[in-house]
Symmetry: C2
Subunit: 790 residues, 2 copies
């Protein structure tokens, strides 16, 4: 059944239509239905469909998805979201593996909420943030968070998913221990809370400046707070974590004066000095220390709402206050909520899809939602931001972004942006170039957040993002300067085995671990640099880097048929297990998967590996083989469901693999596998994601693959065709044009592609090009239930 | 013998004249003689006398003087000085009393130098700073400082005073362990080092970012360093000490590229993250952590000089670099040294004195030198500075100053500035007003440094400094705004017993300790506010505060004849020892001394205490009584020599006491005592000061008293006359006028004043007024050897 979703005037019809599903299904649907019904009365979407109704922010919040359900706007600085635990990164100096679950602060199966903090990563495989946790309570004041097993020992509260709602730009939950309804919404730089207190009495709002994500002893470097008056508090929190030196300023405003306030310090103080002449614990307006928790007391009436706004700034407390004044100068919670939803609908409407099942609509638009959560804006409304040199800079002519999870997002997310978010993507490139200018290494970001390089994972994939933008003509930035930064980055010898790579053509495993992964990714990155150089007419650079891009050949062991770690004496490492992901020269992938990582030269790689036929069979066995149990425990970042045979979709190095069939004579073999992954690895429900969403990369794969094409080698204009899961899709391009995808006769059974027409003309190979999309037009897949030899 | 010192063209003559003394006397004289001889050849002073030759920066560096011998310019931000130890403030959480000796980093009796750091307080009784310690070494690299008892265990070096020179703007020492000659000079924001290495080989320059003054575990909050290139390093150091949240940025430049560099971390790191992929210890340009020491290696030739510049900024590393470029854009060490000396001579020439003995010349000009060391400039060359709100501000129309040791300096130093440094003093008031505007307490500074309030000692003596400037007509600032800030400060109820004082007219000892000292000082401060209000025509404020200023009466116990702690029930505290300085309701003074602290109403106080005759005898006994030994140990901040009878000159509450004789019928009794104090408490030589110099307050007493007058009550125009120790003095006022003091027939024996003429007219009381000085003119004392009943 093909359901045509109607414009907002027919919301009522939709609601009626879906009532059955909503009641029967997950809590989300109930929430969704209520929300839509309410919004339907007021929301003016002006030709925008209310696609926000299909977004389920809970997807990925269970298991390893590492998403958060809280309130945020597209690419917003604030992610105001509940934290269900803030367990320490290390206990007694030893890594605590449970911390990994809390990368985004929230685990769906938890039964308590500690509070609501303002900054969260989405889907990352390591973490940080969780700044400025706020929690409303009543009764006896407790300033420690308590534990999940004994929530009454602290200020945290029990909650139930029955009383919880999450939708784009809005989150709500009943804090059962206090019977407080907590609601939150956000603009880019301001989080807004609305707490409805149950009965007359003394209520508290706690500001926990110790709380944080991936916390450990001494993560808090310093905090500084000023109680400016009885409704305004300012300050900053400085941490040393994944970001080595991170400082976030805040301005916190209440819509009602507090009666009293105070703080406790949880750090050891050797020297208190003449501050001891004050009672600093109560109603003393200047507070500083390593570990501080504060409280604010209010007299509240039954059902009284107390509203809170908290703005952040990378620059100064004054900047945070200005951000608050500019973005939310009022106390109208509903207006902020409505505006946030409007912002989301603007972004979601960039792709209008038609799919039979609501569940798949939910999956698609939740993927769109997750894809547009980051990178996040990182500057004040006046354009000032903190650079990686820790100095303050002015963004001239661009919006500065941070939180670049590049090892993940260069693959499909930034290519998706080059279609759906070209302006933002160009600004992201500007932000990367500013990073390089300000970096003492004069390197483009590897994994950067909050004016820090955290060096996470490998490669220098900024060059891929920049090359992709240049090659696709989405480069409203100084391209020569960008190319210089790419080259400079790729020649930083002390970076992660790079000098060996430059000198020897590969990274020797005995000198630098994960050497094969590094060699392969450097080779791809170098190819990307070469493509940019070619486009900019820099033949010298092209020659240099196209040569480097062939280094993948240096780690191919024709005997075993795998990429294999090589030692500095030129010999391959002796003991070698192609199934293991540890100690075999790879990182977050095994030789089986990673050996296929030559995205820039699939044809050459296939030739090297024995030709198309052999390779096609080799690929088959990846999906069908029986991976012995012992290897599961070793496979990072994904649940067991994230693995199909030995194909690991839950981790990024495999993301292009299925599409490699397009370079064999059996492209049809890709088609059912794509559909299988779309179905199995992306399900609705909190536990729906097979692995970390990785700041939108997993979602970008979903969006591309659902639409029927995928960018195997960013930096090229080419997209490999797959098997669309939508019936129809319209991509509304920023240039005003529309690109339509039609999958005729598409169904769960009809996953094979009989033929494809681009603007009515049959394609003779399973590829399209970026310009085909940007010109607008129609890509029509004729679907069938039987495989074809197209 | 009266010696008329000649202008600089006769340096040669002076040198010959003094040769005998120089050889025979303290090391200083040798240094002095060498220096003068060298300077004499080049220095162009253009009508300035080279009075810098009389400054001995070593005075006060032994025992409790707490001065430093290093290089600085008047009121300069940089104090580049050797630290002879950097012992911890606390050991195992327990206060280490030895740290007190190292308030200024240097103790004359020590035999090793740890290195040269860039920021030092002068003469304070608590401490902080010691930022960016640099030490040149040769041979095996050692990165820990070692101990005084085993200097070879670390990088420190033995030294001898025979190889040490200190003069205004220049310091030099031979580091014996390495045979390196270390020389240093400074501009306001830049310290310049010149190291002469002994022989060809590998030399090191160490940058110790852990070292600091009043250091303790966890004092270092964070440091951040970037090696920008092979001659430039930038970064910051953030500490939590006397200043709770202090951050100083630096830019460090070498005149020769280093070969290699590296760092060690001395903090415990729980999380190292992906930085572990680098060898961060060597030649890795980005460094951050709590406790870091760095080294830079050079190949040096025999006798090769390596020069170093280190600039600081309160704002940013970029600001520090700009400061360096603007202040010292070159590498000419001699030029910087010459300019620093010129700056000093400009200031020292504000008073030209003639005194018989060179030793007294040295004492006088060293006092002038110490008086002009602070408050220090605290802003970048572009006027940006860090405010107490930790935000960045622009100084509009004034130079921003910091390090206000106000409990000390309001007494005589700021009054001295109102004569010799009126422009700077008005800018200091502007700085205090900015502090108040930016303070969350909206309070003027108590003891502030580096964008921090440390709350040291008692009272709110900013109001005295401001009132003194207003009353004396040196108020090129918004006086209404200043008055508002004064009133606001004096009404901050949560400050140190102030609410009790406002409610009850005194601070009750059972509620807030040191209650008598606080009551008395608040009363004086309130009088100062009243004087400013009167001058500005604000009768309401005048009435309110003149009433408060009489509160001193509320703690006078007519039975014992002393000020005495009162309890909240209105009764005096029972057990009471008027000689003890602890637990008796006073701070840094006993009842004997502190009871005389009513500087604004001496006549009324004398009447209250039984009239002039009785009071005169009471004063006599203060100086003649035999203080039992047990009380010495309890007397803070001064060596035993700092006490005359029970009169404690080494601490400030007594500084006006001798002059109280002027309000009795026996003003002559003051005269010999003043001379005794001038002689006994201010001697040449490292151990010459009887107590902490207290950022120039002790020195300001010396200058005033040497000139024959003293400001007993700042905020009044009145100066009490004493007994001048100079033969003649010319005060060169900023308004172009000159005020001369002549002490006819003055000698060590002729300490009594027979009569005084102001502009030829005999004075009939022992007072003059500020306007008398500012108009220019001549104050002539006729001295005699016998006391008189004038």
């Amino acid at each position: 059944m093909v359901l045509h979703f109607l414009k907002n005037k027919s919301f009522l019809f939709q609601n009626i239509f879906y009532t059955g599903i909503c009641i029967a299904a997950l809590p989300f649907f109930t929430a969704c239905e209520q929300s839509v019904a309410k919004e339907g009365e007021n929301l003016k979407l002006e030709n925008l469909e209310d696609l926000a109704q299909y977004v389920d922010p809970f997807i990925g919040t269970a298991k390893m998805g590492h998403t958060y359900p809280g309130a945020t706007v597209p690419f917003g600085s604030i992610q105001l979201s509940p934290d269900t635990d803030t367990i320490p990164y290390a206990v007694d100096g030893k890594y605590n593996p449970d911390v990994y679950k809390y990368c985004a602060g929230y685990q769906y199966d938890d039964e308590t909420i500690v509070g609501f903090s303002h900054t969260h990563f989405s889907g990352t495989g390591h973490s940080d943030l969780g700044d400025f946790l706020i929690m409303p309570t009543t009764g006896e004041l407790k300033l420690n968070p308590g534990t999940e097993t004994d929530p009454d020992s602290g200020y945290r509260s029990r909650f139930s998913h029955d009383d919880e709602t999450a939708e784009p730009g809005y989150y709500s939950v009943l804090l059962k221990d206090y019977n407080i309804k907590a609601e939150m919404t956000a603009s880019s730089r301001v989080g807004m809370h609305q707490y409805t207190f149950p009965k007359a009495g003394t209520s508290h709002i706690i500001l926990d400046l110790v709380a944080g994500i991936y916390n450990y002893d001494d993560k808090n470097v310093w905090t500084f707070v000023r109680v400016e008056n009885d409704t305004l508090v300012t300050g900053y929190r400085q941490t040393n974590g994944w970001a080595r030196t991170r400082k976030v300023y805040f301005a916190l405003s209440f819509d009602k004066p507090f009666k009293n306030y105070g703080r406790e310090r949880y750090d050891q103080q050797v020297y208190g000095g003449f501050w001891r002449k004050f009672d600093q614990s109560r109603n003393f307006p200047e507070i500083a220390g390593e570990k501080i928790r504060m409280y604010f007391d209010f007299d509240t009436q039954a059902n009284e709402k107390v509203k809170v706004k908290l703005a952040i700034s990378p620059v100064s407390a004054e900047g945070a206050l200005e951000n608050m004044k500019k973005e939310i100068p009022h106390w109208n919670f509903e207006q902020v909520k409505k505006e946030a939803r409007y912002e989301w609908n603007k972004e979601l409407n960039k792709v209008i899809v038609k799919i039979d099942k609501r569940e798949e609509m939910v999956n698609f638009y939740t993927a769109m939602y997750h894809a547009f959560l980051g990178p996040t804006e990182y500057m004040d409304t006046d354009g000032q931001y903190r650079g990686i040199d820790q100095g303050i800079h002015q963004a001239e002519g661009f919006t500065n972004y941070t939180s670049f999870s590049l090892w993940d997002t260069y693959r499909a997310l930034h290519p998706l942006f080059n279609i759906l978010q070209p302006k933002r993507n160009a600004h992201m490139v500007e932000s990367m170039m500013a990073h390089s200018d300000q970096s003492v290494h004069t390197m483009l970001p590897v994994w950067s957040h909050y004016a820090n390089e955290n060096w996470c994972m490998i490669g220098y994939h900024s060059v891929s993002v920049i090359a992709d933008a240049i090659v696709k003509g989405n480069a409203e930035f100084d391209q020569e300067r960008a190319l210089d930064a790419m080259v400079q980055t790729a020649k930083t010898g002390y970076y992660d085995g790079l000098q060996y790579y430059m000198d020897m053509g590969y990274v020797p495993e005995d000198k630098n671990g994960a050497s094969v992964s590094k060699t392969l990714e450097y080779a791809y990155d170098d190819w990307a640099i070469a493509q940019a150089a070619k486009k900019l007419g820099r033949k010298d650079i092209y020659q240099e880097f196209i040569k480097r891009s062939e280094n993948y050949r240096n780690v191919y062991d024709s005997k075993s048929g795998f990429m294999r770690p090589k030692l500095s004496d030129g010999s391959f490492k002796n003991e070698f297990d192609a199934l293991d992901t540890h100690g075999q020269g790879f990182i977050e992938g095994n030789a089986w998967n990673y050996s296929l990582y030559v995205p820039h030269a699939p044809a050459e790689m296939i030739e090297m590996m024995g030709g198309k036929e052999k390779f096609s069979q080799h690929l088959d066995s990846l999906f069908t083989m029986d991976l012995p149990d012992k290897y599961f425990a070793n496979t990072e970042d994904i649940s067991q469901e994230g693995i199909i045979g030995n194909y690991v979709h839950g981790n990024e190095p495999s993301h292009h693999i299925i599409y490699l069939y397009n370079w064999t004579n059996t492209p049809w073999k890709a088609q059912d596998k794509i559909r299988m992954v779309l179905k199995d690895q992306y399900q609705s429900g909190a536990d729906g994601l097979g692995g970390n969403d990785d700041f939108g990369q997993m979602s970008a794969w979903y969006i591309f693959s659902s639409l029927g094409f995928y960018p195997v080698a960013p930096g090229s204009e080419e997209y490999a065709l797959g098997s669309p899961a939508v019936n129809e899709a319209t991509i509304n391009l920023e240039n005003g044009k529309k690109f339509r995808v039609i999958a005729q006769n598409q169904s769960d059974e009809n996953v094979f592609v009989e033929k494809v027409e681009l603007n009515g003309k049959k394609l003779d190979k399973p590829f399209i090009y970026h310009s085909d999309i940007m010109k607008g037009g129609e890509l029509k897949f004729y679907m069938t239930g039987t495989s074809t030899s197209l």
